[in-house]
Amino acid sequence: MSLFDAFLYLAVPSHFLILLGGVLMGIAVGVMPGITAGMLLALVLPFTYYMTSTNAVVLLIAMFIGGVSGGLVTATLMRIPGEPNAVMTCLDGYPMAKSGRPGRALGLGNAGSIVGGVISWGALVLLAPPLAKIAVVLGPWENFALVIMALVLISSLSGGSFIKGLMAGLFGMLVAMPGVDETSGMLRLNFGFHEMDGGLDSLPVIIGVFALSQLIADTMHIGQQNIEHVRANMRGILISFRDYATHGWNMLRSSIIGVWMGILPGVGATIASIVAYTTAKNLSKTPEQFGKGSEEAIVAAESANNATTGGTLIPLLTLGIPGGLADSILLGALVIHNLQPGPLLYINNPGIVNAIMAAHLMAHVIMFLFMTVGVILFARLALLNRAWIFPTVLVFCVIGAYALNNRGFDVWVMLVFGAIGFGLEYAKAPLAPFVIGLVLAPLAEKELRSGLMSSGGTLMPLVERPISLGFLVVAALMFIWPLWRDWRRQRRAGTAVS
């Protein structure tokens, strides 16, 4: 199936309905504070078992894009980020809405979203195929070094604390270890529990860490739903071509930032919107307007967070390395459907790759139309009493964890990892490295052991082969850089105090 065929495939009514339903559900959960797109993807994943692999990935992509975009509504009207990546939109969307221009704020955000989405689609289509051609020649040593680089990169770039990022990544790797060792067939790390003989499935772990802990956190904040909000209206929702021209450079720059941040593992939409917002402020002629309802700010934040959607798919499709949470779940979906993400996906299943690309663009167009026409309806969703939504979503968490293997044990795993996710987040440890560690550990071990078997037990090829050496050098630099940065910061702080 070529890319053109993939568009035709999605135009078939039954497939189009899946796309439409996915975008709608994504926007709906994006709008509802407390239910995130990641959570929706994790919950829906077990049920995609009953779909063809192409339809499953189309549904998940549509939900992902709808979810990233839906956060705009709640951020603008209620000053609550419906999705974490909408946090920067709150700063200016809400003041503009409060000043009597909610339609204009939503329109600008929506315009930024579609431009960011389309630019990131262009990057995906142009960059992914040549990268996959290069990636296909990588051997086990290069793949192992690549995973190491991705883990160090995500720990150092996901912000704040490098040590905590590394700890979370290594912990995620350990969680992936129990069960039957694929290479030797030996049972390991079951701690005497036969329920662990099959290992800890990544899906209950992900549902626990992201869905359950988020719901429990939101229960704590249930009083938030009664605070003041702005009523949505349609005035100014469609912005003019002149507006596109005025904000064109900002949209392009923020989209490129978003695509680049999306490609880097673990950085994701939230950091991309922060970087794009800060860049727009630094380059603005009216930086004093930022935080008070600046049009440039809304456009920058929304262009960047939507642009990450295409960027994150590039390493997933070409190298089999997820760029963030949603991609980790997409990776899980591909694996569930017996598809191996990475360069071989291009060779063995080009139809799936093209379906992902086509769905990415079409989902953005559908999202734009829905968000333009139905914004008032979506705004009403944000006002639904969470007391009526949360219990049902929690039941879905339980069914989602149970359904994959029909095992009660998996539901307990979800509960335990709900508590662990809560604890990690409370300790301000970044969760993205945890998920990447969890997903990539089996791949890292498999590649290392395969390399060692072919080299007769020596690790030397890791530094003798130029590409793997290159990856290791980047990993080493990314390891040293945050430590040097922290040391320099402390030295400066010490100098300032003295």
Partner: protein, 174 residues
């Protein structure tokens, strides 16, 4: 704006959380190391099933140990700039009241629900109706009207979910 006392309190809280995290990671890495060291070598495989977990556990243990030393020397480990789970560990909001007790009760009730489903033969339909009803009521304003709404949603929601998964998705529910 935070005063000096608030800043100290915040730092103390962060230090306690950092220490808790590092100690928990030491326990996890020690447990994995101990369990993995019991494994034997595998034929034809230079690495075997135990080496990789031991390396990872070793790295995690070492990193956690360094973290404990840093914390005891008065340094903080830093904090993640962005959150994937909103609302945990944030400063108390000013426009509404945080309800950690309610969150704890919701978590406990969910554990009871899971126990009832997996450890007893209570049946999915009735357990789910009871769970949705009780949790919905607890999270609501608990007025008469809300009690009625919670009960209605529980019956309709529980029945609909059971129908959806048993008749349409043909799942064997717990």
């Amino acid at each position: 704006m935070m005063g000096g006392g608030d800043v100290n309190q915040q730092q103390r809280r962060e230090r306690r959380a950092d220490l808790g995290l590092a100690l928990a990671m030491i326990v996890v890495s020690a447990a994995v190391w101990w369990e993995a060291s019991k494994l034997g070598p595998a034929p034809f495989d230079p690495l075997g099933p135990k080496s990789f977990p031991i390396w990872i556990a070793g790295a995690l243990g070492l990193l956690s140990l360094v973290s404990v030393i840093m914390i005891l020397c008065g340094r903080l480990l830093g904090r993640s700039d962005t959150s994937l789970i909103l609302g945990i560990g944030e400063e108390a909001p000013t426009d509404y009241t945080l309800r950690p007790g309610l969150a704890l009760a919701a978590a406990a009730l969910t554990a009871v629900y899971v126990a009832a489903l997996t450890l007893t033969g209570a049946g999915f339909l009735w357990t789910t109706i009871a769970y949705i009803g009780v949790l919905g009521w607890a999270l609501s304003d608990r007025t008469k009207r809300h009690t009625l709404i919670a009960a209605t949603i529980a019956v309709i929601g529980g029945s609909a979910i059971t129908y959806l998964f048993t008749k349409i998705f043909i799942l064997d529910l717990p």
